[in-house]
């Protein structure tokens, strides 16, 4: 375990369910598996790219210590998105980088979401939807533990650029990546 590890994140993660053939889009594009299942996770482990998984959308996968160990240690998914603070803490304690989902649907909801953020050195923020990030005030952005991942509803190039000016990385579908 090394909580002081410096992470080099791609600027873009391509969102995929991992159930089809996947071709590498470039050095600065990683792969985020979401809305998938355990079988597809296993099949995609070991890809020659930066791999991440949204573990809330994996059929059959729990959100406890055993699930964190399976993802990080067994499959080698070092980057894990989750809505559960305890899962984020587990991933970080195993040497991975966790992103806790912060649901930014309104001011108060975001505040509540941030109250449970572990704020550890290896727990960043997946702001959901990413599209809202440029609308946040600077003081609000400063409250988001880094690194920041903009996740959700991003497809227009101007919106993506606005997010990348603030976030460390963004999550996009392939169609949006090809439109850049």
């Amino acid at each position: 375990m090394n909580s002081d590890r410096i992470w080099h994140l791609p600027r873009i993660f391509e969102a995929s369910n991992g159930q089809g053939a996947w071709s590498h889009l470039g050095r600065d594009v990683g792969l985020l598996l979401r809305d998938t299942n355990l079988t597809a996770l296993v099949a995609n482990a070991g890809h020659d790219t930066t791999l991440a998984v949204d573990c809330d959308g994996v059929e059959g996968l729990g959100d406890d210590r055993a699930a964190a160990e399976f993802l990080v240690q067994r499959l080698g998914f070092e980057i894990v998105l989750t809505r559960h603070a305890a899962m984020a803490t587990n991933v970080a304690s195993l040497g991975g980088l966790a992103f806790l989902k912060v649901f930014a649907l309104d001011t108060e909801g975001m505040r509540h979401s941030l109250e449970v953020h572990p704020r550890g050195s290896a727990v960043g923020t997946a702001i959901c939807p990413g599209l809202v990030l440029p609308h946040l005030e600077p003081e609000e952005v400063s409250l988001l533990p880094r690194p920041i991942l903009a996740y959700g509803l991003l497809d227009a190039p101007e919106d993506i650029a606005a997010c990348l000016a603030i976030a460390d990385s963004v999550v996009l579908r392939r169609r949006a990546i090809e439109g850049l």
């Binding site: 930014a104 649907l105 909801g109 599209l131 809202v132 609308h135 005030e137 959700g152 509803l153 227009a156």
Partner: protein
């Protein structure tokens, strides 16, 4: 919001379905004053009463002690929508819907589509939240709305509606938008994107009219 002075007041009788302001009146009020207060404290509620807004949205309050607040709003000719999922003391179920009806609420907001019919049956306006944190949540919310057929939809976060409008199908019910609405420009853009009204905690925007 804290307890009100009617803590020991008798519980009002349940109204007959349809005896409350109907959906058409509520929607007309939203259209007439499309920037609605979203209030979370007693002080905000008091100030909202003095605003030009015709509909007040109560997000945080003691759901068991709302009768007095709603009565004060009605005395001023305003309608009240209560957020069932956020107020304290209530569970999001049919019994709580009945409780809010007896307290005099004109509308109930919830993310639970299965409660929409119960809200309508109590003669209140049913507002279902459409949460757009990511694409799959949005799809699930749209499917739920298609099944439950609320009177009004509230899209969150409202500030991104102009950018996300293309992700939505043509929706039957009128749409509210709430969340991070902070400026007159935000309001204008959201209304231009097709929302009937916005909800906001920014008091300087309450009662803003269409321009």
């Amino acid at each position: 919001m804290g307890p009100t002075e009617n803590s020991s007041a008798p519980i009002p009788k349940a109204p007959a379905a349809g005896s409350r302001p109907v959906s058409a009146r509520f929607i007309a009020a939203l259209g007439g004053s499309p920037c609605c207060p979203a209030v979370a404290t007693d002080e905000q509620f008091d100030r909202a009463l003095l605003s030009q807004a015709e509909v007040l949205f109560v997000l945080r309050a003691n759901g068991l002690e709302l009768g007095h607040l709603i009565g004060r709003a009605h005395e001023r000719g305003k309608l009240v929508a209560v957020h069932l999922d956020l107020v304290a003391g209530l569970r999001s179920d049919r019994a709580a819907v009945g409780w809010l009806a007896r307290a005099g609420a004109d509308a109930v907001i919830t993310s639970h589509g299965h409660l929409v019919a119960a809200i309508k049956n109590q003669g209140m306006v049913a507002i279902q939240r459409l949460l757009a944190a990511h694409g799959s949540q949005l799809s699930a919310g749209l499917a739920s709305i298609a099944r439950s057929e609320p009177d009004v939809i509230e899209f969150l976060p409202g500030v991104v509606l102009p950018q996300a409008r293309h992700l939505l199908p043509r929706l039957g019910p009128p749409m509210l938008a709430g969340g991070f609405v902070r400026s007159r420009d935000d309001v204008r853009a959201i209304l231009a994107a097709g929302a009937l009204a916005v909800t906001t905690s920014r008091e300087e925007l309450w009662g803003m009219t269409r321009e």
